[in-house]
């Protein structure tokens, strides 16, 4: 369980996260959505104790992130940051091995090696295992960092924009793996996702943020509608329900978007008159 209570963070008088209180149940995938600068990444970083908070209190799996033993925290929660450039020359295998650092302190036993190999395999990196990270594409590097996170084998996985740099197929594969981690392995996955439709289609729980505050949370069906998109993202668009999950129709030019919104309103009006 992740409990965030009254958390506030300001950078030079600009309040980035403003008195946020949320509590996330263990298991499943939670996505934090919101416009740029809404404070999503900062909140995630504070949960992962990478950024200190000015006020408030956060606990993950019963551990207070600002006071618990760093090693124990590292065995409880792992985070994938947005920025994963690597000026140093490490191979994929080196990097993923360091995922075992909180458990082994660098002296890998047979179990550690097995987990490293599995993680490399899960992220489809077997053929790249001895390649240097600085000579790989952004997407390959992203997968290597996720493999390191998997090797860390924590109950809580935090990911900041895990779909960055990934093409359609790899983005879907990544989400499948996170879904598998949540469903089959019982992990709690919390991620910041850019695209509201990916968030809607893959998450059990959504947290919408605006100007540092949580403005909506719940299941995708409860949260995602035209009014919320307008409020949170400032985009006027229709929402259709496909395969049981709400999908925002935002990819098209403004004229067509408005057309769809009108059609949606007319449809709603029609259903109402029909009901009468």
């Amino acid at each position: 369980m992740i409990e965030v209570s009254g958390v506030t963070k300001a950078y030079a008088r600009t309040v980035v996260v403003d008195d946020v209180t949320i509590s996330l149940q263990p298991g499943g995938i939670t996505s934090i959505v919101g416009a740029n600068g809404a404070g999503k990444s900062t909140l995630l970083s504070m949960i992962a104790r990478l950024v200190g908070m000015d006020d408030g209190h956060i606990s993950v799996g019963g551990l207070d992130v600002s006071s618990a033993d760093p090693r124990e925290l590292a065995r409880t929660l792992g985070i994938l940051k947005q920025e994963n450039s690597m000026p140093l020359r490490l191979t994929v295998h080196d990097l993923v091995s360091f995922g075992r650092y909180p458990h082994s302190r660098g002296r890998l036993g047979p179990d550690d090696h097995a987990i490293v190999d599995t993680s490399i395999h899960t992220m489809d990196l077997d053929e790249l295992r001895d390649r240097f990270l600085d000579e790989m594409s952004g997407g390959q590097r992203q997968r290597a960092f996720v493999a390191m996170l998997l090797a860390q084998d924590t109950d809580y996985l935090l990911l900041d924009e895990p779909l960055n740099n990934l093409d359609m197929a790899h983005a879907l594969a990544m989400l499948e793996r996170l879904r598998h981690a949540a469903d089959a392995l019982g992990k709690t996955v919390v991620m910041v996702v850019h695209d509201i439709n990916f968030a809607s289609a893959w998450s059990d729980h959504l947290v919408a943020m605006k100007d540092g505050r949580v403005v909506a949370q719940g299941s995708p069906r409860e949260v995602v509608d035209s009014a919320m998109l307008n409020h949170v993202f400032g985009v006027n668009c229709a929402v259709s329900v496909e395969g049981g999950c709400p999908i925002a129709q935002y990819y098209m030019p403004a004229a067509r978007r408005t057309e769809l919104v009108r059609a949606e309103l007319a449809h709603a009006e029609q259903s109402r008159t029909d009901a009468l």
Partner: protein, 337 residues
């Protein structure tokens, strides 16, 4: 195109026999180095027992100390360059270009002025303290750079800091007529190494052992503060420890043999191209290659103008600069943050 030695970008796994072979090569080169010099020494004389007392004295008091000093200083310079590159996450820094060595020299100057009769160990301790302060200042400057700063700005900041420290030191030395002494410190030279004057270099062996012991910690720290923290490492503590070790190694080298440019830059970069930056794997190679590089430069310095000697720093500077330029050209900028 991206890498000199491994075109496919695949890390080369050193085979088990390679390290002993490299050690053997270094031992042979060291033996050669022992018998190069003005005085006529032949290995056979020592084996047959026909060497004179003078020859024994020369071997024990001058030749062996000198070769030992070359090996220790070479590995120390390469080692501290490698460690600094990892911790600063920048391939273009080394203690000699970011103010560490200059600060050590400032400390040496200070102690020479204030307590000229201080024992060598005290002078060294003061130099280490100054080196630490200089390195800490460099880190603070780098940390305050905006995150979007280009990678090249980091070594530039170091060079400016080094320039300022060395300008101040030179000014004081000039006023007090110590310029020549300062010049001797800064120019790497092994010709003054004699028994009783180099033993402090063995501290370097201690630094090597410490770096080996903490190798994984330093590599994790090199992943950056966020990753290191996420993996449960106290990043700040690891940085402090690493930079303290760098400062000790480079101050000790400066006090005993002077500054030798480019060793800390070229050797770790070459090793990293082939073996990568995982310290536990690359450390012995960095130490060996550093020792080998300086040994080769020293042999050239002693034979090129025989029987006269050129300071080894000059040779290392010329060779190192050339190699470094080739590295810059050959390497695609895989260094973007």
């Amino acid at each position: 195109m991206t890498s000199l030695v491994s075109p496919a970008g695949v890390g080369i796994r050193p085979r088990g026999w390679m390290l002993p072979l490299a050690v053997l090569c270094l031992v042979v080169a060291s033996l050669v180095s022992l018998f190069v010099g003005v005085a006529d020494l032949h290995p056979l004389d020592f084996l047959r027992g026909t060497a004179t007392d003078d020859q024994w004295l020369n071997l024990m008091a001058s030749r062996i100390p000198r070769t030992t000093a070359v090996l220790l200083a070479g590995s120390a310079l390469a080692l501290s360059g490698m460690l600094m590159q990892l911790l600063v996450r920048n391939k273009f820094v080394e203690p000699g270009t970011v103010g560490t060595s200059e600060s050590a020299a400032a400390g040496l100057l200070a102690v020479t002025l204030l307590w000229p009769a201080a024992p060598l160990a005290v002078k060294m301790a003061i130099a280490v303290v100054f080196a630490l302060a200089g390195t800490a200042l460099f880190l603070r400057l780098v940390r305050s750079l905006p995150p979007t700063t280009s990678l090249i700005a980091v070594p530039l900041v170091g060079m400016m800091l080094a320039g300022m420290v060395s300008a101040a030191t030179t000014f004081v030395a000039h006023r007090l007529d110590l310029l020549q002494t300062l010049g001797v410190w800064m120019a790497g030279d092994f010709s003054g190494v004699l028994r009783g004057r180099y033993e402090l270099l063995w501290l370097v062996a201690g630094v090597f052992v410490a770096v080996w012991f903490f190798a994984d910690r330093f590599t994790v720290a090199s992943l950056g503060e966020a990753h290191a923290t996420s993996l449960g490492l106290n990043h700040r503590q690891a940085m402090r420890l690493g930079l303290a070790l760098v400062s000790v190694a480079s101050a000790v080298c400066l006090v005993v043999v002077g500054n030798i440019a480019f060793v800390g830059l070229v050797v770790p970069n070459l090793v990293s191209m082939v073996l990568g930056d995982r310290l536990r794997r690359s450390l012995p190679w960095v130490a060996l290659a550093g020792a080998g590089f300086v040994l080769a430069c020293d042999l050239v310095a002693r034979t090129i103008n025989f029987p006269y000697e050129i300071p080894v720093g000059t040779i290392a500077g010329v060779v190192g600069a050339a190699v470094f330029l080739v590295l810059l050209w050959k390497r695609t900028p895989a260094v973007s943050r």
